[in-house]
Symmetry: D2
Subunit: 386 residues, 4 copies
């Protein structure tokens, strides 16, 4: 079996999730090539080397350009924050590398547009934006049921992606909360996932209207050196800075198939940890999903006898379900990082087979357009057509 | 104990719900007067008389003006569709009667404004719009907890009132689906309840933006003579008519306390029967409610120890809960019509004590303003300030 | 329409529930006779008269024998604690009255046997033990689905009826906790309902084995004069007495169709208020019910496509469901006391039509046999065949 | 850091789960030694070698005695069916190896007794029975809360471990269904887990009473060569054999702290896939868990204000929770195999630190005693004291 050499840029939260994906994809699934943990790249020598040793990477690098240009490397895996995506992804494509990029694709529509065009011009390369929730078995099952017509004509999408990790006003001003490094607040970080799911399951979006809000405008500066984004370590100086992205964005949307939808995202929803949820209502049935119960999909069917209708909780842990035959016996649920294993397996097969994989950079561009239109709508107080 | 004579206009679904409320209020609760089922009024003699006989009304009438002017009658209870509210309510106030009116108050803001002014000029009269969900024990408990500060500063309201009773394209064009008789679609029928709850629990609304949709534009004419609004009996002629109200309305709102909210309503949400639901997120905690589980309230508290936090399902069936000491032992849930008993008891006490009761006609006016602003926003594609 | 005169013995918790049932049965349902609230009977003149006035009874009596013998009265409704059932029910049957009796039927198998034989000898009389949970729409739907074969061969019954109202060791020694007045603890009070449901839904029981427990052996004496069984008012003297019934009983059972089952009951299950629940597992499907969500029934079907199987939550609030066409529109749940309305309606129809109604005194006898066998098993440490 | 060489016997379902555990334990957690995938052992050369290649084992063996005696190997990991446990575990202890053994420990009490004594005589060796559910974060949290007194005096344990994978009468007679290879049916396979959890959380058991059942007595012979226990491939011959273990066992138990409990297990519970569940009721609170929602723990506290009490769903995915700080950010649930990673990490630390780890072979013996007492009770129709 062929080897595929991976070069991974970044090694924090996403670096761990991606590493285990490359390492496990070929154990759990029968895939067409063997991914090799060739090189991991980061800024701090000691930390990168410790990571490589612990997680099994063969080489380390302190310079992403060196990795991108390395002739042995086949795939560039981008795990750094989004303000670094554009330069790396563009260079990787230009160096002829397949690109597996974390989401959101870029900071701006303009950047995404350039990447999409570059990818378009290199049809031999596989490019992928890691909206990993598409590869949840429950979401895959939802897609399959929609394609089989079990939901019928779709009338409504109701998406909500809610978290509460910055609800403490003393949580520091990490890079997520500054426009120059994050581009957007939860509209980018979280609604990018929701919009990807909606486009996957319902279709494309033609118009949006939105309201956004900021609840806490100043925060203490963070101790960026402290490990762990979510630990909330503050800088000792006590200095504060301005939050320059929204804390919450509620967006309504019209789909090109006539459905009416909503996308509600906030980092101020007490009790919601990673509540990536949706409801889809159609003429023949309805579906509901919530990542906090990631092994379940709820389905209501108008085809059931009237007296027996109800929302059914499908435990999506059986060998009949997407991706599940590779895992455990009936009823043995999987966790968050398994979505990355699925994505890695699909990506590797796409590379070997010369196929594309979704969502790609063109999807990333369209998602970025929708999200920016939402924030523009919020600031101008009017509906924006796409 | 004093008697209060009730004159009820209308005797269909709401007539039954109101009758049992007047009959039972004084059994379950210790109230300040005894409501007497004096006169029920409708258009069809045989049907009204049968209703009166079955439900225990002392007299019948075929002319609402006669009831409104009857010197023995103290309270006019309006149970007819909303296009008839204005004339009856105005006449009742002018005749010096207390008014218990079904929702929504009127077809238009203009009508509501006149009623509100008339009520303002007669401080001795009690006027009430029956947004009955305020008087659910679970909602009362939510209000109490918010007032005690257990939710803290409110960041979000997420309301959804979803039904599916017209999802069949062959369901006929009942009065609910024609603008001249209903004023609005679910924005009026259902979101009027949601807006009432939001104003009760969160506060008033300062701006809205909205998208609406029509999925089925023509429907068979109904057999209006057939009993039962929801039975969907079609006219034999096979004739069709135009649906002139929205099928769904999704509205975003900014509250005067800075909270960001949503109100989503549809009659095309397969599987939702009477899903009047809300989520409230605040700095100290969150609340969730869904009428399909009307005896429950969910609460998340930031005051719990971090490792023990979670949404708690409070079974609102205990004697400590609002209105419940009048009912059954622990764990014995109540049903839909009990909200009407609570409203009747509160209304009677307000009349005897010379107090007001909420929501009143002024609230009805403000709700109507918000709902109309929503539809205006949907049609103009821009945010509307209130 | 014919009148049926009711004489009701007892006027506390059950007296209220029964009164509203007789009063409302003919409003909600089309029944074959009109029940008349003829006479209510109790020991304390003032209290009985106040009750009669508030709840609409025409006459009062202080002597149950007078009521039983009253020539105008057709039906004796027994709402007093179970230690009083036997004498009243026997006298009522002997006086030629139809009997609507609260559960459990008697204190002992011997008493139940006499009542069953007396009833047997008077086929013209209707006799009924009010295991009201049979007449929940959700339970009725379960029965219907079992009869239609949707569960297939039944393998398991898992019943649990859990409460926590005496978990405080200072809760007083009310009549429920003394063998001479209650016969048994929760094995009688609660498991009698579970056994009735199991016999209704699964079939009869052939053998049981059981363990029982007492957690609190002495309790303060109650202030019996204080209104409200569940208020827990203690006698001022501070005197204590012995608890002479079990606090919990866990019983296993074999059914005559080969199913293996369990019946678990306790008054020491913190958080359970009136958790009357069951699970039924069969070769084609499974059912689950829990009274704390009384408007829901869960159903799993092996007939669904493998990838779409799951427990479905049927909202049992639709006109297709047992008893529900009499109530409200879709999605408008009912409450605890509605089961009594259903029982009253069915009872009245049975009387008029000369039919029997289940569960009757013969069922009450068999239930009593099973419950006593359980306690005998617990005390002897061995399985008891029935 | 020291290396620990692992020799693993068996490579099917459990072999995969254990391999990923050894491989990942040191990535996710900071542990005291590095486990090395030294040798995997099985009967079929090609299959073992393919497994070793795919999952990263350095060597293979076809003879477990060779592995047990291999001087480089520190730990024997037993992943084969239980009829093979005794010989391997005994030899491993006698060879001075630490033993990580799948459950249930043995086929009989006698075997378990010998292993327990052998282990007792070699205090330098770590011995462990892999009741992995103890190491679920939700179960660890339950234990912590019980130890903190938050449940108070425990009154009840209600365990149910339900599956449905043999509900089809044509499912073949795999080794699980023959007494000589499995020892018991679900009483061994599933209730061993429940009894382990009950002993961990509540305490030891002093008496049991039980009923068991067989629903399908003959089944087709399996094609044992077919991969996948749960695939249900039948032998082509069409031959049938006798099921020699129970299909279901319902057992009641008395704990030495006075609690009354139940253990209900079946492989005929349609809709239950891996429903390992328990409820614990105590004087101050209650806990509920169900493996099908493995990232959740439900808790009811009597310490909450009366009007705010309810079962709280704790999402056990936060860094405050047992084992979770090694995994992902807030709200990112884990899956089944993570329990093995936790066990591997704890086991390695125990080996390096010279500590014991629970449950060990002494626990395995006691569990076996309880399970056998249950089946003896079922066959003799009487309670068995332990």
């Amino acid at each position: 079996m062929k080897n595929l050499n991976i070069g991974m840029i970044g090694y924090k939260f996403m670096g761990k999730a991606h590493t285990q994906a490359w390492a496990r994809a070929g154990q759990v699934f029968s895939i067409d090539a063997r991914p090799i943990l060739h090189t991991v790249c980061g800024k701090t020598r000691g930390a990168v080397e410790a990571f490589a040793s612990r997680w099994g990477w063969n080489h380390t690098s302190l310079d992403w350009r060196e990795v991108v240009d390395h002739p042995e490397i086949d795939v560039i895996d981008i795990c750094v924050p989004q303000y670094l995506h554009f330069d790396i992804a563009l260079a990787a494509l230009q160096a002829g590398k397949h690109v597996f990029c974390e989401k959101p694709l870029t900071l701006t529509v303009d950047q995404a547009h350039i990447l999409s065009e570059e990818a378009q011009s290199r049809p031999e390369l596989v490019h992928y934006v890691n909206h990993n929730y598409r590869r949840l078995p429950a979401v895959g099952l939802a897609k399959q049921m929609i394609d089989q017509g079990k939901v019928g004509r779709i009338y409504h999408w109701r998406g909500a992606y809610l978290q509460d990790w910055i609800i403490d006003p003393q949580f520091p001003l990490t890079w997520h909360l500054r426009k120059e490094t994050s581009g957007m607040g939860p509209q980018g970080d979280l609604n990018s996932h929701s919009v990807d799911l909606a486009r996957f399951l319902v279709g494309d979006i033609t118009a949006v209207t939105c309201m956004a809000a900021n609840f806490i405008t100043q925060r203490p500066l963070p101790d960026e050196a402290a490990s762990g984004t979510f630990s909330g370590t503050r800088d000792e100086s006590g200095a504060v800075g301005e939050v320059s992205v929204e804390d919450a964005a509620f967006m309504l949307a019209r789909f090109d198939n006539g459905a009416l939808g909503s996308f509600e995202t906030s980092r101020f929803a007490a009790g919601r940890k990673n509540y990536n949820s949706f409801e889809i209502y159609g003429s023949r049935g309805s579906l509901m999903f919530n990542f906090e119960r990631m092994n379940e999909l709820e389905f209501y069917s108008m085809d059931d006898p009237p007296e027996e209708r109800g929302f059914k909780t499908i435990l999506v842990t059986e060998s009949e379900h997407p991706y599940m035959s590779g895992w455990w016996p009936p009823g043995h649920g999987i966790g968050y990082e398994h979505t990355f294993v699925h994505a890695a397996a699909d990506f590797i097969n796409a590379v070997v087979r010369g196929e594309s994989i979704k969502p790609d950079f063109h999807d990333g561009l369209q998602i970025q357009r929708i999200l920016e239109a939402g924030l523009e709508s919020a600031s101008r107080g009017r509906e924006i057509k796409l």
